[in-house]
Every structure is written in C-alpha cells, then in structure tokens.
C-alpha cells in the first residue's frame, strides 16, 4: 500500500506499524525521533501497536540545528 513519508510516496507492507516506518527512509536509529500521522503525534509507546493506514501522511522528525 502507498503512504507518504516526509513528503515522498512509499510502497509499504499493509501490516506495517508506525515503528517500521523510520527504516523505510533508511533511519535505523529510533532515538531522538518523533512521528506524526495525518497531523497527529503518535506517542513512542504506541509505535509498535499502531497500524499504518493506506494513504497515511507521515512526518518523521528529528532535532536539528536551529533557533
């Protein structure tokens, strides 16, 4: 199924959980990340449980230089 991650479309397994998504964009280390799906934060404690839906708009963020 197709989802959008950080503005790019990706084909992913329909049984994917939120925890599987960073690997799709080649980010192995889950530390320091935050994930929002369709404009809502998904708490880290739920990453393993929350399923990803078809057409989901995902943002995977990290801290960078700023401010």
């Amino acid at each position: 199924m197709i989802v959008t991650i950080n503005g790019n479309r990706h084909e992913i397994d329909p049984s994917s959980r939120v925890a599987d998504l960073p690997a799709i964009i080649h980010r192995a280390d889950l530390r320091g990340l935050a994930i929002a799906v369709n404009g809502e934060v998904v708490s880290r404690s739920e990453w393993e449980d929350v399923r990803v839906e078809e057409g989901a708009r995902v943002e995977i963020l990290q801290a960078v230089q700023g401010g």
């Binding site: 950080n6 929002a36 943002e59 990290q62 801290a63 700023g66 401010g67």
Partner: protein, 255 residues
C-alpha cells in the same frame, strides 16, 4: 551575582545558545564551550539520513540542556503539534515557542502565540515564548503561565541590537518571570545593553554563528553578559543633562 532561575532550574550562565546558522558542528561545539552556555536551542525537521553528525550529539557531549523550538510555525496549531513532537523526540517539557506572523520580519503573531502558549501550558509544557517588545503582550504571556518571556531586540538574524530599549526596560521592570532578550543581538555591546536594561538573560544565535570568528564572538558575548549583569546589579549613575562635578569644590586655593 544573583542566581538565574527559570521554572525551578538554576543556571550559572545567563546566556542561552542558539544552534542555528553554524555551518560546521565542530565550530558549533567550540563556540558553545566558549560561551559557557548551559542550554541550547534545536529545531524539529524531517529526518534526513544523508546528514552527517548530530547537533544532539554535540550538546550531549557538552553536557548542555536541549531547548527545542517551534521555528518555522505560523499557526498555533502547527506550533502546538511541533511542541508535542519535540517532547516525544527529546523527552523534555521545555519549549521555546515561536509562532511567526510575517516571513520578512519574522516578528511573532501575538494572537497565535498566546493561543499556543495557553494550550501548551495546559498540556504541561514549560513555555518560553519568543515575543515582541510589546509590554502588554508580555504581560498576557506571563499571566497565561509562561515560565519566562523572551522579547526580541530586533528581527531574528538582523544584528540590529535593541531597537526599543524603553519597551524592554518597561517589560523588565514589570515582569515577575525572567525576561530573556531573544533575537537581534549583533555583537557584545548589544548583549551588555540587554543585561543593563534589566534582562535576566539573553539568547543569541546569529551573532555568534555568523560572526567572522564565532568562537571569539562567543567569548566576547559571554563577557558582555557578565559585565552587563554586574553593572545592572551595581546600580548605575543616572543620565543627567548637566554636569555633576566629581571633585569637591571646597578647599579650592586662591591662586
């Protein structure tokens, strides 16, 4: 010197370090050390696997606290969401709240800022809002429960110092929470002036990051913050229109 406390955390340094604008993590690390800062800001952006090194790594190694910001947000909704994401990613309740109203001046949108602040305070955040030099807005933010207020001196990155020192003085005189001058500092004297106006601290980014010698400028601004605060605590002489002789007039010889 009197201690600097924000939301129950006591800081030895009154300088908060902005990590934006450095082109090299190595220079950032050395400038951070030279500044003596104990807290530094970061922004939240999309993961980019091709980027090397990490600002968090630098801050961690320096033992520096992380203050995430909501840089780039123009609405309360986006700022609130970004703050929640930052809390998830970094495990801190502290947030430097920026809600921008204009993309040329980068001045805050007061209405959206206040809305976001109120929501985030309800959500348990320690909110440090980047605000204008309007004493009314500063009071509203304080009343809403912000842990500090951070008025700008002049536009972000403009290096134009403190355009309205009178408003800043009014803010510092009336505030019951720490006042941290945030944005527009260009060089050491601006930081000293901020402290002399009664600010409890300063947040600097571009003045250091984009200086010709960032490490040296970090050292300069550190000294300026110390000097300005000492001067403030020492109680300056007033500005007079006329002279006030410094030498006694009695005992003058008739020559």
């Amino acid at each position: 010197m009197e201690k600097f406390e924000v939301a129950g955390r006591v800081f030895a340094s009154r300088l908060i370090f902005g990590t934006g604008g450095f082109t090299s993590l190595e220079v950032l690390a050395r400038a951070l050390e030279a500044s003596g800062a104990e807290m530094a800001t970061v922004a939240m952006r999309r993961v980019d696997p091709s980027s090397k090194g990490s600002v968090l790594g630098v801050l961690d190694e320096a033992g520096c606290d992380v203050l995430p910001n909501t840089a780039g947000c123009f609405t309360a909704r986006d700022a609130v969401l970004t703050a929640h994401l930052a809390r998830e990613a970094l495990g801190t309740n502290w947030i430097k709240l920026e809600v921008i109203g204009d993309d040329r001046t980068l001045f805050p949108d007061g209405t959206e800022l206040l809305t976001a602040a109120r929501q985030l305070i309800e959500d348990g955040f320690v909110v440090l809002p980047y605000t204008s030099d309007d004493p009314v807005l500063a009071r509203r933010l304080e009343d809403a429960g912000c842990a500090a207020v951070m008025p700008l001196g002049s536009p972000i990155g403009s290096g134009s110092g403190i355009r309205n020192p009178y408003n800043i003085a009014i803010i510092t005189e009336r505030a019951s929470v720490p006042v941290i001058l945030d944005a527009g500092i260009g060089t050491a004297s601006d930081a000293a002036i901020a402290m002399e106006l009664g600010c409890d601290g300063v947040l600097v980014a571009s003045s250091i990051a984009r200086a010709k010698d960032p490490v040296r400028m970090a050292e300069a601004i550190k000294s300026a913050v110390d000097a300005g605060r000492l001067a403030f605590e020492a109680g300056r002489i007033p500005r007079r229109l006329y002279a006030e002789p410094s030498t006694q007039t009695d005992g003058m010889p008739e020559l």
